[in-house]
């Protein structure tokens, strides 16, 4: 009673979600490049491409629902379907953050650049790494690597806080003319919003890692303290 047809369909679902993950990662990478390089065309490209990622999410939901209803999956197969549905939802939200970043970048590219902050560079790097690692652990179904992603979440939060602090300082700093200060405030707020988007990508990547741990091990590690999991408490 090997269920070849069902397992073939399940394999296709996994491939679709991996493909969606690759497109989402590209969208996020492009959003960061568009912000850093002040590239309006690239930012617009990310915004336009979001529709396609949304469509994949709808497709994944539809196919997963069909497998659940018709195939009555068990054990890891069941977790694979539920997990992939949730992961595609996280990916769609990451792609939305990429759009958000791109929209802010379009605004920022009309003005002179703000002073660079080290915290922003670190935040970009951390969120990129988190997403990359989340996708790698999804590809490899590696629960340990998935746990490593969520350990990075605190770093992302810390960098976001630092960005906020440094931009607030910038905003309150003396400026020669009131108009110039107003522009700087606008740019700073937009940049803070970008930092918030980057931080959200870290959160959503953490969620992906948690879904992978659920698929592989069948346990829910969400809302569980990392120390508890490591047996430190």
């Amino acid at each position: 009673m090997e269920r070849l047809h069902f397992h073939h369909e399940l394999e296709n679902l996994k491939i679709t979600v991996l493909n969606m993950a690759a497109q989402t990662r590209d969208a996020f990478e492009n959003a960061i490049s568009a912000y850093v390089r002040r590239d309006s065309d690239l930012a617009q490209q990310v915004i336009d491409g979001d529709r396609h990622i949304n469509q994949i999410e709808v497709d994944v939901d539809k196919r997963a629902l069909r497998l659940l209803a018709l195939e009555q999956p068990m054990a890891r197969d069941l977790r694979m379907i539920i997990g992939n549905m949730k992961i595609s939802n996280e990916l769609e939200r990451i792609a939305d953050q990429a759009v958000n970043i791109s929209e802010r970048s379009l605004f920022l590219s009309q003005y002179p650049p703000l002073e660079k902050t080290a915290a922003m560079d670190r935040l970009m790097e951390t969120s990129r790494t988190m997403l990359k690692q989340a996708i790698a652990c999804l590809r490899d179904l590696d629960a340990q690597a998935a746990r490593a992603v969520r350990k990075m979440d605190d770093q992302a939060d810390e960098h976001t806080l630092q960005v906020l602090k440094s931009l607030i300082e910038l905003m309150v700093a003396d400026a020669p003319a009131i108009d110039k200060r107003r522009d700087k405030t606008r740019r700073s707020i937009q940049t803070i919003i970008i930092s918030r988007c980057l931080e959200r990508v870290g959160d959503l990547s953490t969620n992906i890692g948690e879904h992978v741990a659920f698929i592989v091990e069948g346990i829910n590690i969400k809302h569980q303290k990392i120390q508890e999991e490591d047996g430190e408490i």
Binding site: R3, M74, A75, R76, L78, R79, I219
Partner: protein, 253 residues
């Protein structure tokens, strides 16, 4: 809270002649719980079920080693009366097998064999059993008609009523719904949920979704061995062993 163990099976081996059909089965089945036995054809699950009320004794050249304790008493001990054992451990088979008698006489059969002659008592027990088997409302006006005129699903519930009439502790069910349509199957499954309040139920099923729906505990058998047994929800969502996982997800079998 520790549950009451109804059946404690210890190192059970079972042979058909020289063929060892069950090997070293150790398992506890709790009172007022539904335990499902699953596994591919020929894995020994039905043989195991039939060991629990010594139905295999009817097959020549069979042999049992190890122990099966029912309420702490070894059912294979020479002092055990097999007839009274089977009264305590009733059985329902895959294919409904009503006797060619009236509905009433089918249900009353076991009681009469056990010497019950009081007509009032017989009537009371027949009504109670038919109600327990969720059949009373459908057939209360035709108790004196032949049981063979009932539908397949009704016949199976009649067989359950017949088994319940002698007030057993345990009900063994060997694929009780495999010959029934989905609606009749649903009624049997609902019935199992009701009956577990009063009886210990052990069910063999090929239908894993059915095992998942009706049972509290599931035991997976493969090639005469008990591979894994445990809480049904855990076994079907997060089995402990790869072999169980492969079977329930349809990767072998």
């Amino acid at each position: 809270m520790t549950e009451n163990v109804k059946f404690a099976i210890k190192n059970l081996d079972f042979f058909y002649g020289n063929f060892k059909a069950l090997e070293d089965i150790t398992l506890e089945l709790n009172q007022c719980r539904v335990s499902a036995l699953i596994g591919p054809s020929g894995c020994g699950k039905s043989t195991f079920l039939r060991c629990l009320n010594r139905m295999n004794d009817l097959i020549p050249t069979t042999r049992v080693e190890g122990e099966i304790l029912l309420d702490d008493q070894n059912i294979y001990s020479p002092s055990v009366d097999v007839v009274s054992l089977r009264r305590r451990v009733g059985m329902v088979f895959q294919k409904p097998n009503p006797f060619p008698k009236t509905i009433f006489d089918n249900v009353a059969y076991g009681l009469r064999v056990n010497g019950v002659k009081n007509k009032n008592l017989l009537r009371q027990r027949v009504e109670k059993s038919l109600k327990q088997a969720a059949l009373w409302d459908e057939i209360k006006d035709r108790l004196n008609q032949s049981a063979l005129g009932l539908s397949g699903g009704q016949q199976q519930r009649l067989c359950i009523a017949r088994a319940l009439a002698v007030e057993p502790d345990v009900l063994l069910m060997d694929e009780p719904a495999s010959a029934l349509d989905p609606i009749a199957t649903q009624k049997i499954e609902d019935l199992i949920h009701e009956l577990k309040n009063d009886f210990t139920i052990i069910i063999v099923t090929h239908n894993m979704q059915q095992a998942a729906r009706v049972s509290d505990i599931t035991a997976f058998f493969y090639m005469g061995r008990l591979i894994e047994a445990g809480d049904t929800e855990t076994l079907f969502t997060r089995p402990g062993l790869q072999q169980t996982e492969d079977y329930i997800t349809g990767r072998f079998g």
